[in-house]
Symmetry: C2
Subunit: 367 residues, 2 copies
């Protein structure tokens, strides 16, 4: 990491050798683009709600701008070259917004739970398998804990972990650093060693231009449910040394993936005993008598069956935060056991979900 006289440093998300984007100690970010033939260049950070920052051209055609301070975490962003949104050649791309999208990693001061550290590391395995639901070959990402290849008699619980809309099976490890979060928790003895399975939440074709309306989301959710139950869980249990029982199976996800986790998990308590939704509970109304086919109607039965029901949102993603607070109050009133985690100051972005995973995983599969 090259630190400048102004104490700025190259963002960890830069491609090798790239000195920009740079992050400043007060979490401002400086972007740069060599574009001598462009008429205007702007930089826009996703999720911030801020307008694009106008970049200023120097005599050599280098455009540059320093933003206002941003919240820590990974931010999707793009540059606008004469109004056309494009990736920054200096940054890695991450699959988000339905396409490879530039990201800038702004380290959170004093926080290292998602960094790679000197602890035993698990693997992230790309596993191809044939899916009857979609009649296609698909790829799952499978995190195996550090001792998986040496403790050859051990069987492990499994967390199924879903990305958000516009992302894919790569999101949780590439953007979310889920593998490092797990490695660090396991090394500290704070989490049960587990397998984490990450698949794409898109289990049916997505015709170009189809709006992500409630009806289409519901169809997608049903297709994903069939894929998880009929293809993914059986393949994982047949391929890896799992504890193939509901007590040792969890499903969680972020945003769209959180909705999917609620839908699949609450609909199939015979398969999943633990359920988590990170920024996933955006409902205008929530009636515990009717929600999820009445699964909350008998709180005592729910509490007996469900080992962990876990909800979260960032305080800066107001609608999601309010929605989850409403659900929390409703569930409290009728005595449905659950946990609520609120990520201070973070929005509908990966820092909320990294923190959520880090808080959620230690609660899973406790003896």
């Amino acid at each position: 990491m090259s630190v400048d006289v102004d104490h700025s440093f190259a963002a960890p998300s830069n491609v090798r050798g790239a000195e920009f984007p740079r992050v400043h100690p007060d979490l401002r970010v400086t972007f740069r683009l060599q574009a001598p033939t462009a008429h205007t260049v702007q930089a826009q950070i996703s999720g911030s709600g801020a307008d694009p920052f106008d970049m200023i051209r120097d005599d050599n055609g280098m455009w540059c701008v320093t933003t206002l301070p941003v919240v820590p975490g990974l931010h999707y962003y793009w540059l606008l070259v004469d109004g056309v949104a494009v990736n920054d050649p200096a940054s890695e791309t991450y699959f988000g917004h339905g396409k490879p999208t530039s990201g800038v990693e702004v380290p959170e001061p004093g926080v290292d739970y998602y960094d790679i550290k000197d602890v035993p590391h698990g693997e992230v395995r790309a596993r191809w398998y044939h899916v009857r639901t979609t009649e296609t070959w698909r790829r799952a990402y499978v995190y195996t804990p550090p001792d998986y290849d040496t403790a050859t008699e051990t069987r492990y619980p499994v967390l199924y972990l879903q990305h958000g809309a516009g992302e894919d099976e790569r999101g949780w490890t590439t953007q979310g650093r889920a593998n490092f979060i797990l490695d660090n928790l396991i090394a500290a003895g704070a989490a049960t060693p587990m397998i984490v399975v990450m698949e794409s939440g898109y289990a049916m074709p997505w015709p170009a231009g189809t709006p992500l309306g409630p009806e289409f989301l519901q169809q997608m959710s049903a297709a994903f449910e069939a894929l998880v139950l009929n293809d993914l869980v059986p393949m994982i249990d047949a391929t890896y040394r799992t504890l193939a029982h509901r007590d040792h199976r969890a499903i969680a996800g972020l945003s769209m993936g959180g909705r999917q986790a609620l839908h699949v998990g609450l609909g199939h308590l015979d398969t999943f005993a633990s359920i988590g939704a990170f920024s996933g509970a955006l409902f205008d109304t929530f009636d515990p008598q009717t929600a999820y086919n009445g699964v909350f109607r008998d709180p005592a039965a729910f509490n007996r069956q469900v080992r962990l029901f876990w909800l979260s949102a960032g305080t800066a993603e107001e609608r999601f935060h309010q929605a989850v607070q409403r659900i929390h109050i409703s569930l409290e009133e009728i005595g449905v056991q659950h946990e609520l985690y609120e990520s201070a100051g973070t929005a509908h972005e990966w820092q909320t979900w990294r923190r959520s995973l880090h808080a959620f995983v230690p609660q899973l599969f406790r003896v």
Copy 2:
């Protein structure tokens, strides 16, 4: 795959749902970009030597062009928006040219050796490990053959396989489809099941703007050599069920990685008994008496020690092809056993290297 009335189809490299780029039966490619505020948009395919194709704007700000027929395979490409090279939001990006770069996959008619087929599949595992040579944590990609997790008493030979300049450890599986090539060969009984290890060839910092001159390449090569011998091979032998002996160890690579394979392999025949260089032998002069510290000087000794010495190039990458032909003739003259593979009609691109891998792997580790 959506097929149009003109029999064109969405390229397999498109992001989900994207109908463009489209490939035509005669291997022309149609690119499109929605960019109403741009003044000019062009499309340029890397490796073709062709000028950028001017795209034409319609009344809605959609720019479009159909290229001339291209050779099959994966081509890096970019769009020029008002002269600024940017990625196409409709395509996956691949790490090439030192950054994430759009790619368009043009299927080769009648060829399926690198497609995913209904055969047992190996895994591609991301493995993080600490490297003393660089004093950093690094990531290796490790292909394990289909039976690796079930044939738990079996030990496997290992191929170390390197990407080219501007690429990284992801290249061989993402661009090259090395895992599917291995899966298909192993399923057909045409190749010995083996582990394939792919690391980044950059084992020292690459200061911004450093030209890729011979001196810098040599420094990089020495750093990579130290990494392979002191860190990578020991880690792999300690972590995976390998046959940890030179007879069962090969090193190969493409372009810069081919040079590295020659340098590391020919320099350490105690570690590697099989060596392959794909488009990797670009030398102005080749003197078998002095090359590689005189390893070819005693052909009989070389032939006794080396199980496989394998060279390739595409016929359309003229300088590489001529160079490898010169070496071939020199080695023939003095009786150094080797094999030469020439990929008909392909240039300094991934189709040459897919074909090379497909031809090389069956020759490895024969009993």
